[in-house]
């Protein structure tokens, strides 16, 4: 079957209206499409009744739950892009995003950790308006076309996060590609594990809803508790798996993670970081009936823009797996240091899924985005090689952005946040690479301005108040001084060589 969706919200409504099939399962139980349809319409009508400034975004705060999805969709139906903020973020992040985005409101599906000046809709108010009937929903106001659908914040080099604006048309391009090119079937049962503040979650959320499938959510607490995780996973009867390769590597530690115990699991979709040969190989051995897809894409180009099925043959032929071929409506070229098109260099992505830029940040937007042959284009900062057949291979970064367990981190972001702590004079972070080119640790080198009894613990605790958990260095090394480059900057490369000479 071939899908040609023209509007995401309409497509979901067509599936959802009067449909008693389950669409979502969380710790509260299962929820039907009819519930999704009713509750998003009612809550959207209620949000419209608040007469928020038109087109202003709203923050949606919560975790892996049906209510979070209902609230995000209600926001776009009402005419407001949503900014997902995961409840496991430090409260400083919510404060920061609120300052940058100037949202019209914060919709808390869970209690907020801090009181903010912005209009706040509480969990009780959201619950109370899931049946709101007082005023009708005006669908002409719903998000469409080039209007923002969601805004996801990522790490920024200055220590301040950047909000990537994804329009309805960006998302539409992504969803049409995914539902057509990955052999996914109608009513598919898909894992929903990555938090909604991470754009990998879009890979499970929208394609599954459009296909009338069921999302099976795993909470943060379950993901963290291995015993619980491996008890729950086999009960979900999954057909499709979306995660970072790191999460699959964790699952492969469980010897029961194999086809026999997951008889209908036939699709693995990976994004967010490098899929290594050994992980792909192990998966195909455990799940001989499954198709494993490797994909690649920055948040700025909406989830993913390349894909390839990793077959035993692909594994055989490559020491480092390809990230695949550009999706049909997208062009990817590589440019060399001189800015000329080349077979190897920085990957430039252009096409309908490329974002209009960073929210309220014209400077960073101008630096990364431009127009190329009438299409929106993005300088990815990723280095790649493009083969004659169009297949693309990832080679690394042009800057100090890293991926740790799928999370995108600017090392300068951590440096800035460390340096801002009162006991620290200087700080710099370096990645340590394990086998297969993957970062497995962030190490911080710091110069202190005072004696500390437990420097590592103290610094980690204080840093955790300002940055996401995944940005906290695993190791903190106190030094009397840090190496400098010829022009007086802290020499990250020398320290990188120092921590990576172990093999």
């Amino acid at each position: 079957m071939s899908y040609q969706i023209t509007n995401i919200l309409t497509a979901i409504d067509q599936v959802a209206q009067d449909n008693l099939d389950d669409c979502y399962q969380d710790e509260q139980g299962s929820h039907t499409y009819q519930d999704l349809y009713q509750q998003t319409n009612c809550l959207a009508a209620y949000l419209q009744s608040l007469a928020l400034p038109q087109e202003a975004p709203v923050i949606v705060y919560g975790d892996q739950s049906f209510l979070m999805v209902v609230t995000m969709l209600a926001a776009v139906k009402a005419g407001h892009a949503y900014i997902p903020v995961d409840a496991h973020s430090p409260k400083e992040r919510l404060i920061q995003i609120n300052e940058i985005a100037h949202p019209a409101a914060i919709l808390g599906t869970l209690e907020l950790p801090v009181q903010l000046d912005t209009l706040t809709v509480t969990p009780d108010q959201i619950q109370a308006h899931l049946n709101y009937q007082a005023t009708p929903l005006d669908r002409t106001q719903s998000v469409a076309g080039d209007q923002n659908f969601y805004i996801i914040f990522t790490s920024g080099t200055t220590g301040v996060p950047k909000g990537v604006q994804i329009s309805h048309n960006n998302l539409l391009s992504y969803v049409n590609w995914t539902v057509n090119d990955f052999n996914l079937h109608a009513k598919i049962r898909c894992l929903s594990q990555p938090p909604y503040s991470f754009d990998l979650s879009v890979m499970d959320l929208y394609p599954t809803l459009v296909l009338g499938g069921k999302l099976l959510a795993i909470s943060h607490a379950t993901t963290e508790n291995f015993g619980q995780l491996f008890k729950v996973l086999p009960t979900l009867d999954l057909e499709e798996w979306v995660s970072t390769p790191s999460f699959a590597e964790l699952c492969l530690l469980d010897k029961n993670f194999k086809q026999e115990n997951y008889p209908h699991l036939h699709h693995f979709l990976f994004c967010g970081e490098e899929l290594t040969r050994s992980t792909a190989k192990a998966l195909l051995q455990r799940f001989p009936q499954a198709q494993v897809f490797n994909t690649y894409g920055p948040t700025e180009a909406c989830v993913a823009v390349t894909a390839i099925e990793i077959t035993p043959q692909v594994i055989e032929q490559n020491q480092r797996l390809p990230i695949g071929f550009a999706k049909p409506d997208t062009t990817i070229t590589a440019v060399d240091d001189a800015g000329n098109d080349s077979f190897e260099g920085e990957l430039i992505i252009s096409g309908p899924s490329v974002s209009k830029g960073y929210l309220n940040n014209p400077e960073k937007t101008a630096a990364a985005f431009f127009t190329k042959e009438g299409q929106r284009a993005y300088r990815s900062g990723d280095l790649g090689a493009i083969k004659a057949d169009g297949s693309i291979y990832y080679r690394g970064r042009t800057d100090f952005q890293i991926k740790l367990h799928g999370y995108r981190i600017e090392l300068e972001d951590i440096d800035q946040n460390l340096s801002a702590l009162p006991m620290i004079d200087q700080a710099i972070t370096v990645p340590r690479y394990g086998a297969n080119h993957k970062v497995n640790q962030i190490i911080a080198f710091v110069v202190l301005n005072q004696e500390l009894e437990n420097p590592s613990t103290t610094i980690k605790e204080q840093l955790a108040q300002n940055v996401m958990e995944y940005m906290i260095p695993q190791r903190i090394e106190v030094r009397q001084q840090l190496p400098k480059t010829a022009n007086g900057k802290i020499d990250r490369k020398t320290l990188m060589a120092e921590v990576n000479n172990h093999d």
Binding site: F230, K231, Q441, S456, R475, I476
Partner: protein, 80 residues
């Protein structure tokens, strides 16, 4: 190489602190030395360096809390 030395080397490497070699009864989780990602890394290293498959489905943080508990766990798994 004996199990104890290998485990302590892995822990020192993961936490970046030689403290783990001195205070063998200190909780690695309470002190923030070991987060959940580092725990996964620990299990992967045990598999690669010692050939030990930890039954993660039965993984209980309490039983892996301190260097001494980890060493005892690994030794018992090695003898299985």
């Amino acid at each position: 190489m004996d199990v104890k030395a290998t485990v302590l080397d892995i822990l020192a490497d993961l936490t970046g602190s030689d403290e783990v070699k001195e205070n063998l009864d200190e909780s690695l989780f309470d002190s923030g030395l070991l987060d959940s990602m580092a725990t996964v890394q620990l299990l992967l290293e045990l598999q690669q360096q010692l050939g030990i498959d930890v039954p993660v489905s039965e993984f209980d943080r309490q039983e892996w809390e301190t260097p001494n508990k980890i060493i005892a766990k690994v030794e018992s798994l090695e003898n299985e």
